[in-house]
Amino acid sequence: MAGATTATILRTGRNRAPLLTCHSFQKSCDYLNLHGSARRVFYAGMFLLQNIARSFGAVHAVGPLDVEFEAGRTSVLIGPSGCGKSTLLRLMMGLVAPDDGTVQFEGTVLTSKNAMLLRRRMGYVIQDGGLFPHLTARRNITVMARYLKWDQDRIDRRVKELAALTRFPESALTRYPAQLSGGQRQRVSLMRALMLDPDVLLLDEPLGALDPMIRSELQDELRQIFRALNKTVVMVTHDLAEAGLFGDTILLMRSGDFVQKGTLAELVRTPADPFVSRFVNAQRGPLEVLGDEPA
């Protein structure tokens, strides 16, 4: 844990220069009283959500809750449908404005004014890829870089790099989304999210629409990619096994709030309440099904 945070490059957010390095995620270290004011040290890719709440009309979606996503670590939001996990992710992207509370990204409070620029330091991947149907895979990936007027060499180099990373055949880059398979579309979507080398990756059920074989193949690949990149990753899923595979930390949600935070082992072995047990037990694997019968 400490290794991951110290390895991350310190970025100057609103607080300009870092005042002191925080080596572990402990309350005592959160705030540093300097010059008479409470200051916070932020690392690249770090999210801090405070007192965040959001409803849609009469429907309560999220919070109020506080949570921090540590830099360089993979956190998985899990829970039943409608528990608010996707809304939480969208609050972090600024795609949804909170009714109350703040989202701080790398020390900057996300507002409607700065959200657009901050999003360029976040990568976002959703279930059906969200690829633009009128652009080829390559142009989907490079749309932002082209807007930012990167020179062609730099764009080409980056695309080559990403294609190698995601094991996407370069020859398929000229295809349109309609000509790609579901797995390929998610790879393109991931490349697009990674194009500007963002500090965080936010993934909303990125493998949800894939069939089980491709899904498990991509799970392995994604895990390797996340390891290689060493980025902050927040991922939404409803599959506990997938959560365990990816997540350093699993955050189990119900009705817009956290029920338990911990590793897969902690959730399974020391459930915080009966809901956690029910949720864990509901995720039955095929071996378990077979285990019901005498071998």
Partner: protein
């Protein structure tokens, strides 16, 4: 026209004022209504103007008294033939003017003068086939009371006029309920194939003899006198002082039978109105005039040019406004209903009503060179009619973009304008293009109505063809209009291959 005027202006400047007075003939615009008699009188006026030293321009077959009189007040036309009954009943209705002097005074207040009678009274009358009248024993209008099942077909203007059907019905206590409004020339055919029994007529109609019709006696003297006169602008006399004297030579010269004969020459013998007018003037007043032979290819070229001009101008303006409006509607939830509502309502306004509303609305723009007759109001009307399909499709095309795609563009950090331009509009392009295609096809059809307000186009031969019962002439307008619509459709389908991004054409969205 404006280029022509500009050349004249340059000539005036170059040759000096003295030469200008000698050489430049003041332009005079002559108007006429959509029936043959009015067109013939218009052609006569054209020759009188030329005789008086003016350079006439005939805006013929304008769609209705209101349009003509407004055009006269605006100065879009300078002179046109009218009937005293129409002046007192329609133009000055509600003022209860009966004698000529009070009519003249009322017109003078609006800057309009009235000539003396040309010599015939083209009053309204009711007519039916002689055989049918004899069979039913109908001789006068009051006899109609005993035949409540008779079907009446009246010209649309007659249906609404103060002295038309509403007051005629009251005057005679007519019980008929099968009463419909239709075009005057089509009503003759209705009589012929017994779709209607009774129609309104003008006393000098050439068809009375041709279709063997009986004029029912107006035994309660309902219809007023409809003496033919010229209505002209005050300032015409300043520009063309000799016009008054020239007009006076014609007063009383056209008898009702003479007019019916002229109508027959044009309508049934298919002699061009210009030639009919020229022959009459040569015979009666010894005014010699040329009447240009009409070349089919020239006239097809002219109508095509006028038609295309209307369509291109109105469509360009419509596209430039409708796409932003559609974007606005799609982006601002509150704006959507008002915008879609207004362009929808415009679509429901009947064409002729819209044309009249536009003519009166753009009247104050005259100093800017915008005329309230002819191409300008037609282009405005077509522009308004073309908005709905484009606005609606732009709105729908943007609205239908799946939320996850729209949000992906936001999530990348693209600014709103770039998202719209690079992502949303290209994805909506097929829908927008099909809206434009619909608008063009509708526009090409509607543009034929431009002829009603003197804008020319394919509607001109159609109007003339209906008036003269000349199928060939109708087709001369209808076929090119249909071909143009098909060509436009074909071109748009081709352009879809260029304008709609390739990736979209393989996606089913």
């Amino acid at each position: 026209m404006s280029a022509y005027r500009a050349i004249i202006l340059i000539l005036v400047v170059l040759t000096g004022p003295a030469a200008a007075v000698a050489q430049v003939r003041p332009p005079v615009s002559v108007g006429s209504k959509t029936f043959t008699e009015s067109v013939i009188l218009g052609e006569i006026a054209v020759r009188l103007v030329r005789q008086a030293g003016g350079e006439p321009h005939h805006r013929k077959e304008l769609g209705g008294t209101r349009i003509l009189f407004n055009a006269l007040l605006n100065g879009d036309i300078d002179i046109y033939p009218e009937y005293t009954g129409t002046i007192s009943e329609e133009i000055l209705s509600g003022q209860n003017l009966t004698d000529e002097a009070s009519i003249r005074t009322a017109l003078a207040r609006q800057g309009v003068r009235m000539s003396g009678s040309l010599g015939f009274n083209n009053t309204y009358a009711l007519g039916m086939k002689k055989a049918r009248a004899a069979q039913l024993g109908i001789d006068k209008i009051s006899d109609l009371v005993h035949h409540p099942d008779l079907k009446f077909g009246f010209s649309n203007e007659f249906m609404d006029r103060n002295d038309g059907w509403p007051s005629l019905r009251l005057r005679y206590g007519l019980p008929q309920t099968h009463v419909r409004g239709l075009d005057h020339d089509i009503a003759y055919r209705g009589l012929e194939n017994e779709a209607i029994d009774v129609m309104d007529l003008y006393a000098t109609d050439a068809e009375i003899q041709y279709y063997d019709l009986k004029i029912l006696t107006d035994d309660r003297h309902h219809f007023r006198d409809y003496d033919a006169v010229w209505l002209y602008r005050d300032d015409l006399v300043d520009r063309l002082p000799r016009i008054v004297a020239v007009m006076q030579t014609l007063e009383g010269k056209i008898s009702a039978s003479e007019m019916a004969r002229l109508n027959k020459r044009a309508k049934l013998d298919k002699v061009p109105e210009g030639q009919v007018a020229a022959e009459f003037l040569a015979r009666e007043l010894e005014i010699e005039s040329r009447s240009e032979p009409i070349n089919v290819y020239d006239s097809l070229w002219n109508t095509t040019r006028d038609h295309l001009s209307m369509v291109v101008k109105s469509m360009t303006a419509a596209i430039l406004l409708a796409i932003p409006l559609g974007i606005w509607a799609a982006k601002k939830r509150r704006a959507a209903q008002p915008i879609l509502g207004v362009v929808g309502i415009i679509q429901t306004i009947p064409a002729l009503a819209l044309l009249v509303i536009i003519m009166s609305m753009i009247k104050p723009l005259k100093p800017l060179g915008i005329e309230s007759l002819g191409e300008h109001p037609a282009v405005v009307a077509l522009f308004l009619y073309s908005l709905l399909p484009i606005v609606r499709n732009t709105y729908a095309g943007l609205h239908e973009i799946p939320e996850h795609i729209r949000e992906s563009a936001v999530a990348l950090g693209l600014p709103p304008a770039v998202r719209l331009w690079r992502i949303e509009l290209p994805i909506a392009s097929r829908m927008i293009l099909s809206g434009i295609k619909t608008a063009v096809v509708i526009n090409i059809g509607f543009a034929t109505l431009g002829a009603l307000i003197g804008a020319g186009g394919y509607g001109q031969p159609i109007l003339t063809g209906i008036r003269l019962d000349d199928l060939g002439l109708i087709l001369q307008g209808a076929i090119p209009a249909a071909v143009l619509a098909l060509v436009a459709q074909f071109l748009f389908e081709l352009s879809e291959r260029v304008l709609v991004p390739k990736g979209l054409r393989m996606t089913k969205m």
